[in-house]
């Protein structure tokens, strides 16, 4: 469900599912874990194609951030209105850095 592309140190991972819910949360968690164990410590998760996410999908994203621990980061790009609402209601908008587009995320990361 992820399409990935390496940009320098960062791995851009674009979610290709429109709904990230209980059907696919386990797959998302596994694919992100695989990317992290392959040595990617800096991930941009592009959610611009996602129009619905529930707490099981969010749990998969949180689990990946925890897996990175202190050695890396996972940032969110392109979250639409409903995905942003989920992050806000769960206060995860305070935990993840969120960018309007993956280009903005890449630029911010390159500059830091």
């Amino acid at each position: 469900m992820l399409e990935t592309e390496k940009h320098g140190e960062a791995l851009l991972a674009v979610v290709k599912e429109r709904r990230v819910d209980a059907r696919v949360a386990v797959d998302l968690k596994r694919e992100l874990a695989d990317a992290i164990s392959a040595g990617n410590d800096l991930l941009i998760l592009d959610l611009s194609g996602v129009d619905f996410m529930d707490s099981s999908g969010l749990g998969a994203v949180v689990s990946s951030l925890k897996l990175l621990g202190r050695r890396g980061d996972l940032v969110i790009a392109g979250a639409g209105e409903s995905v942003r609402a989920l992050f806000k209601l769960t206060r995860m908008d305070k935990v993840f850095r969120m960018f309007d587009t993956s280009q903005a995320a890449l630029a911010a990361i390159a500059g830091s």
């Binding site: 059907r23 707490s55 621990g69 409903s82 609402a85 989920l86 209601l89």
Partner: protein, 147 residues
């Protein structure tokens, strides 16, 4: 505005939950209900909870969802014949708050347990009862309209 009712009867699988929540959102949008995405989220969380906990992930049980919309409110009655956890669920529902965590310590971040608090933040009424060996979850969202 007249009152409309729609009833869904589904198997307790994540695929069926996706079908119902998509339909609920479509009905909300067609009727001009504010916050259709939030309603979709709350119903998904409620149904996921039944699939995972009341039916313990078996997948071949039945969930009924009655949705009713009128000028004042959006009302859902969700019925399952899963394990009797009403007292526990009612307690959890009444106390549900978003899990606590430390922004500066990733190991404290919650990966689950967010569903009930999400339902409460979207719905004005959340009530659980058990009768005739069935759990009945009542969810009401009051509608605000500019007229």
């Amino acid at each position: 505005m007249q009152s409309d009712e729609i009833r869904f009867t589904i198997c307790s699988t994540p695929e069926a939950v996706a079908l119902v929540t998509t339909s609920v959102a479509a009905v909300c949008r067609a009727r001009g209900v504010d916050g259709a995405s939030l309603v979709e989220l709350a119903i998904a969380e409620a149904l996921n909870n039944i699939v995972e906990h009341a039916y313990e992930g078996r997948g071949d049980d039945v969930i009924e969802v009655l949705m009713r919309v009128d000028a004042h409110e959006l009302r859902f009655e969700i019925v399952d014949a899963g394990v009797s956890s009403t007292a526990e669920l009612a307690r959890l529902m009444s106390e549900a708050v978003a899990p606590e965590f430390d922004l500066h310590d990733r190991s404290t971040l919650p990966e689950g347990g967010m569903g009930l608090a999400l339902i409460r933040s979207v719905m004005d009424t959340v009530d659980v009862t058990r009768r005739d060996e069935r759990n009945r979850l009542l969810l009401i969202r009051k509608l605000v309209r500019d007229e």
